[in-house]
């Protein structure tokens, strides 16, 4: 059995916690707002210049010179790759077989370019 005052205390504590949580949320929101630029870049905007070259191409390879022991979970590899994929859809980019297609998207230190694989 719980007395009425015990329940009231519980409710007051939960209300206080909710207030603290909400205050923290507002502060965090304001912090993030100031740290972000007002412009929201399209994910993979840097790859958009390659879009015309891939028009009508269903599949292409994707090559990066960044090496990793665990590429599938490496943010440095997967983030630009998946951004490229988003921007260049509906062309599907194959990270795991970069040179198995007529076209390969190169994302290296030298920049971003689309290269035709002459061997195919």
């Amino acid at each position: 059995m719980h007395s009425g005052s015990f329940k009231k205390t519980l409710i007051v504590l939960i209300v206080l916690l909710a207030l603290v949580n909400t205050g923290g949320q507002i502060c965090r929101l304001l912090e993030q707002k100031s740290s972000l630029s007002s412009a929201h870049p399209y994910p993979g905007a840097t790859f958009l210049s390659l879009r015309p070259g891939l028009k009508g191409v269903p599949m292409a390879g994707y090559f990066t010179d960044r090496t990793s022991t665990h590429p599938s979970t490496d943010v440095g590899v997967m983030f630009p790759y998946q951004q490229a994929q988003y921007a260049l859809s509906p062309t599907l980019l194959d990270y795991y077989h970069p040179f198995a297609y007529e076209w390969t998207v190169f994302n290296t230190k030298d920049g971003i370019k689309l290269v035709r694989n002459k061997a195919l």
Partner: protein, 399 residues
């Protein structure tokens, strides 16, 4: 008609939109806005018929005048404003939003007759298709691919979850307690932030809660539809649906009269879950690969428990939910009804299953926990709030 049925029917309407997109894609072979819009016009009246078949709960009617819509709006305007601010801060959503869910929708929209190519490109594992179908459906109406539809879908789902918690509790507990549950849920920093991320987790949370509330109120056909949509929302949703339905069958009722409409509702949705799953091939990244070998690795179990307590139970972003909910449930355990017992047991089983899956994962174990454990807890958080506050006694009652 009770207000809770409005929050249920809105979720059913979202499910219907996703179904329309699924069937139009498979039957017409490509993204076809004319078919999608026509099908909506023809099928939406069915929802009104379904809504009329829902019997109003007398307990809702008793308290309907107490829980005024104005009070609800007054308290939640701040939270909806916060939610919209979070959404506007990241209009393309977080990583998985553009890399998985919206990317799939983009592909359906852009690829024309080759849309099925995406079924063989599963960098994120074989996830179901609810959110991409729903977003693509929205783009069929807007006529172009934009970021407004995914943003609006995230806001809609969150508002539905909040409404369902508050009005699902109405008639079960007093007005103040029901509102407190909603306010506390919204105050959890991770809840609004992640809801705004445009991930499918908010839909898992919604359909789980909707299925549970539908079942408690005896809307078995509708509940069956929601269990199906839960399966369609995410892989975790499939596990939740199976675990909870088995628990309900074993612990609450085996009555054919109740199970028949539920199974019919579930069967209406299952083709859209199973057909894409059967067609999807390839998982080049293999991020979901597991191995039994790791099950005996005590170091991993210890790491998991340590991470769980640090990140979830004592994580600031959870606003104390995973301390308060178990505490309140334990305090008022004598008030638990059979549903509460069965649902809590199912949630425990669900967590144990995923704990084992985390331990067994072949890929980077620490990375896996860091990126997905919070999301898993997010999916069950609204149900936990609902169950916790459902058993909260009125101030006037004893015990």
């Amino acid at each position: 008609m009770s207000i809770v049925s409005l929050f249920l029917m809105a979720g059913a309407a979202a499910g219907l939109s996703a179904q329309v997109m699924f069937y139009s894609l498979f039957l017409s072979g490509k993204f076809n806005p004319a078919i999608v819009i026509t099908a909506h016009v023809v099928l939406l009246p069915l929802l009104f018929l379904l809504n009329r078949s829902i019997k109003s709960d007398t307990r809702d009617n008793n308290t309907r005048s107490e829980i005024s819509l104005y009070v609800f709006f007054g308290v939640f305007v701040l939270f909806v404003a916060l939610l919209i601010a979070w959404v506007c801060l990241r209009p393309y959503g977080d990583w998985d939003a553009w890399a998985l869910w919206n990317f799939r929708a983009n592909f359906i929209f852009r690829a024309g007759e080759r849309w099925q190519d995406i079924l063989h490109f599963n960098l994120h594992g074989h996830q179901p298709w609810f959110l991409p179908f729903l977003i693509a459906s929205g783009w069929a109406f807007s006529g172009h691919e934009d970021m407004f539809i995914p943003m609006a879908v995230a806001v809609l789902a969150t508002v539905l979850v909040i409404g369902l918690v508050v009005y699902g509790l109405s008639g079960r507990v007093s007005r103040g307690i029901a509102l407190l549950a909603g306010v506390y849920l919204c105050s959890i920093p991770y809840f609004l932030q992640h809801a705004a991320s445009q991930y499918a987790d908010i839909w898992v949370a919604y359909y789980l809660l909707a299925a549970v509330i539908g079942m408690e109120r005896g809307y078995m056909f509708l509940s069956g539809i929601f269990w199906g949509l839960l399966c369609l929302s995410k892989n975790e949703g499939m596990v939740l649906a199976v675990v909870m339905l088995v628990a309900v069958f074993m612990g609450i009722t085996r009555s054919k009269e109740l199970w028949r409409p539920l199974m019919i509702g579930l069967a209406c949705i299952l083709p859209s879950v199973l057909i894409p799953q059967m067609l999807m091939t390839g998982d080049p990244a293999g991020i979901n690969k597991v191995s039994w070998v790791y099950l005996g690795d005590m170091g991993r179990w210890r790491d998991f428990v340590q991470f769980f307590f640090q990140q979830v139970v004592f994580g600031k972003h959870w606003g104390g939910l995973w301390i308060i909910a178990p505490l309140l449930l334990a305090l008022f355990r004598k008030r638990w009804d059979k549903y509460t017992k069965v649902y809590l047991c199912s949630l425990a089983v669900f967590l144990v299953i995923f704990m084992a899956l985390y331990v067994m994962v072949c890929n980077d174990f620490q990375w896996r926990m860091a990126v997905s454990l919070d999301r898993l807890m997010f999916q069950i958080a609204p149900l936990m709030v609902y169950l916790t506050w459902k058993n909260f006694p009125d101030l006037s009652s004893r015990g």
